[in-house]
Amino acid sequence: MGASLPPKEANLFKLIVKSYETKQYKKGLKAADAILKKFPSHGETLSMKGLTLNCMDRKTEAYELVRLGVKNDIKSHVCWHVFGLLYRSDREYREAIKCYRNALRIDPENLEILRDLSLLQAQMRDLSGFVETRQQLLTLKPNHRMNWIGFAVSQHLNSNASKAVEILEAFEGTLEDDYPPENELCEHTEMILYKVSLLEEIGAFDKALEELHKKEPKIVDKLSYKELEVSLLSKLGRPAEADKLYRVLLSMNPDNYRYYEGLQKCFGLYSESGQYSSDKIEKLNALYQSLSEQYTRSSAVKRIPLDFLQDESFKEAVAKYIKPLLTKGVPSLFSDLSSLYDHPRKPDILEQVVVEMEHSIRTTGSYPGSDVKEPPSTLLWTLFFLAQHYDKRGQYDVALGKIDEAIAHTPTVIDLYSVKSRIMKHAGDLTAAAALADEARCMDLADRYINSECVKRMLQADQVTLAEKTAVLFTKEGDQINNLHDMQCMWYDLASGDSYFRQGDLGRALKRFLAVEKHYTDISEDQFDFHSYCLRKMTLRSYVDMLKFQDRLHSFPYFHKAAIRAIRCYLKLHDSPKSTAEEDGMSKMAPAQKKKMKKQKKAEERAKKEAESKSEESTASGVSKSGKKNVKPVDPDPHGQKLIQVEEPMAEASKYLRLLQKHSPNSLETHLVSFEVNMRKQKFLLAFQAVKQMLKLDAENPDSHRSLIKFFLKTESTSAPTTEAEKLRWSVLEAERPSISQLQNKSLVEVNEDFLGRHKDSLVHRAAYAEMLYLLDPSKKTEAIKIIEDSTSKVVQTNGAQIEWKLKDCIAVHKLLDTVLLDSEAASRWKSRCAEYFPCSTYFEGKRSSVMPDSVYNSSRKSNENGDTPNHPMGQTELGDGQVMDKSKHSRASPSQPEEAPF
């Protein structure tokens, strides 16, 4: 380094490097300038100066200097290395890899560069390159433990686990017998366990178990040892030993569900679906009976049988399970049992059991068949459970009755208000739900969960400003919304984006949805530091797990939701070109709202100007405070105005679509948006693929049906193919058409009729049929509307199941009547019918919803202090059994008792 310089300058150059490493950037800069004074075109110095400036937030200069450095000294590995570092600091890993490769061409044995390159290759999953680099590092420095381990891990990642085992064995061959020293026991343990898990992965269970037993004295993590051992024993088909070991593990932690699962497997009593023959159920029951006697303090051992027991034995077990928990007052009881509601008969049994309990406690004060008096709170928790039960079953009236009674019984329990809020949300009154969540929040201002739940409800009710204010109560002071962003608060981004989307503010909606995407990118970036850290700390099993997790990161629900929603924003942008989009929104609003909107806009503009001037200031001050990174860049586009100015929304949408298709191929929604995007892009073959995927995933889904009809209607109506491409497309479709079973020589009208024939009782399917009927032949509008209006809820089907209308489907139908079929009379008929059916729904203006002027939650009505119902059934007159005594004296207005105490 700096070899071409005379001794004095060579020393200065060393100083620059040292200053960079110790973060004394000013000092380094001075030294660099001293060299450049004499040798103004010295490449390596220019590069180092650039790298130093990069750390002082002077990016543009940094890139200029580093580029100039490389240009002046293209044969220097230092210049290339620096260029690579610069790219790496900007997360441009692909470019960085190129630079490192250039540097290595000049200096192939540079350890530092090789190490850096290997990290980038791991990050970018260039696995064959990673193996190569790791091998080179090992060849150059075989006496480093880390190089052996790194090579082994790279082979493992590159799907060559047996090679990895060989490498680890070769490494062990180099170790002394008394290895490891006292202070490296943990690291050595991890290495052994990693090796055993590799052997397990390649199916060498015998060898794995042997290795595990052989190394037992050196393994300090006894729990992992036992867990690995038991897993190997099961895989080797040695159930008796596995059984014994599982019981040892259970005595250590009797609430670990995986141990129970393993134990069941030992007896051949495990099924993935949870379905068992009656013979097996009996055996399982006997097993858990004996286990529950052994592990009396375990709640898992009591809960698991509820999953497999049926009918009478279920009834008995569930009653036994519930009683002590209601007595104790466990608010989470319902969510603990909610998975049982997927079963066809269990909900009915639960209802019967708990209603019996309620009745018995009311009349005798004890559970059925018992004479032990229950504490007063048992009735409260029973009502609380029932409220959630009826809510789950869609009987909102009954649910509200129960929860109101519970609140009257004990008005100080916060969970009651949260549950009431949830019931209101399900019943369709989002305003009331938000008000109740706020009431719950006020009862414990130190509880972040209740606060967040309230924020979410407010956003669902489109009270964005209020929601922001509430959310900020739990962020760091002074850095409010940014702090939410830094905390990667994705539920907030999604809920807030949804609200903006509903309100037609696509800019802000997009901003929120894309923020979620950004969080995922950050999470993916975050793994970078672990490539070196985990090798050093030897936490290899967790490291490999983490990498696998990162590989499927984008299939997680938050990303899926955000990407779908972002694409929907882009679809909307595409459908309503930007110049008119805004005016459209304006014309739909009431004049008062318009005024508000205008005001808001003005305020925003002002804020924007301020932000701009601030950002100018901050860049200015950023320079003066050279090197210190305490200035946060101000968001130049806080309202997403730039985001909605994109030239080609469909191109943007395609970016996210590709990620969805790669990571969520089993979601119908993925293919639905793919269909919508590709139809708009006139990419008919891609759209056709989407239709095929939808039919494959769920052929009877109304959206699949709609897409199928829309697609063939569109492609058949286009004129005969003229260009080569069109001809090709046409021939592909001709060839593919017979493969679609729904079509089989039928016209689209017939396909539509068939669809209705299969789903006569379902509202959503009837609506899809009607929509397509109208699309295929607009003259059939009346018929289409009649099909919808003839729908009835609660049709009992031949198999005994009942289809009940869901609120969200009815809302969709209303929108269909109003905006697609364009019949406002039919829409309003539908609305009043639904208002009967969903009396709490604000959308349909139901009689008991908060839009009614006499509702306690109506915003125009001043609610009383606590948001309490004014005619509370309790409280006022419950004198008499000797505990509430001096209540009445407070209605005095006695002047003899001045409010101020006399001291």
């Binding site: 032990v372 008096k373 414990d444 201002l445 000797g882 505990q883 509430v884 005594m885 004296k889 105490a901």
Partner: protein, 192 residues
Amino acid sequence: MGTGREASVSLDGVRDKNVMQLKKLNTVLFPVRYNDKYYADAIASGEFTKLGSSSLLGECDFDSDRIALIGKRCIFVSSAYYSDICVGAIACRLEKKEGGAMRVYIMTLGVLAPYRGIGIGSKLLNHVLDICTKQNISEIYLHVQTNNEDAIKFYKKFGFEITDTIQDYYINIEPRDCYVVTKSFAQSEASK
């Protein structure tokens, strides 16, 4: 009496974070709405009890210096928790008698209806009585409507006596008269 099962009852002070629970309680129990100042004072006293206490139960230390901390009005509120549910509260005010002796006035004592008859009221009152003895309070008193026999019986159990009757104490409930019910503490160690 009531319950065949054990349930824990504990006492705690009031803080700004959970004062809403006290409000809920009072709304149900008493016909009067207290103003915000009442609750602000209650919170201040909660802080005060915390300052002086070493145990979770809010053992109160009526040290005269600390009384000064919260200003002229010294309200002391204690809530009762029945297996973690707030079911009752006692609110008292510390007053200075002529001559410098301290006395306590019970403003409210109430327990939610379903939780009455299991000793929670007694526990709350005993808690306050304990503090009074420890802190050399000369007397404790309250007002009771003349027809509230259950209340009078209850307080008599704790050594309270009717010491006075005030005519037309209440203006909008019948009967309008009230008794002053007082318990005096032995003044053997009163002079510090």
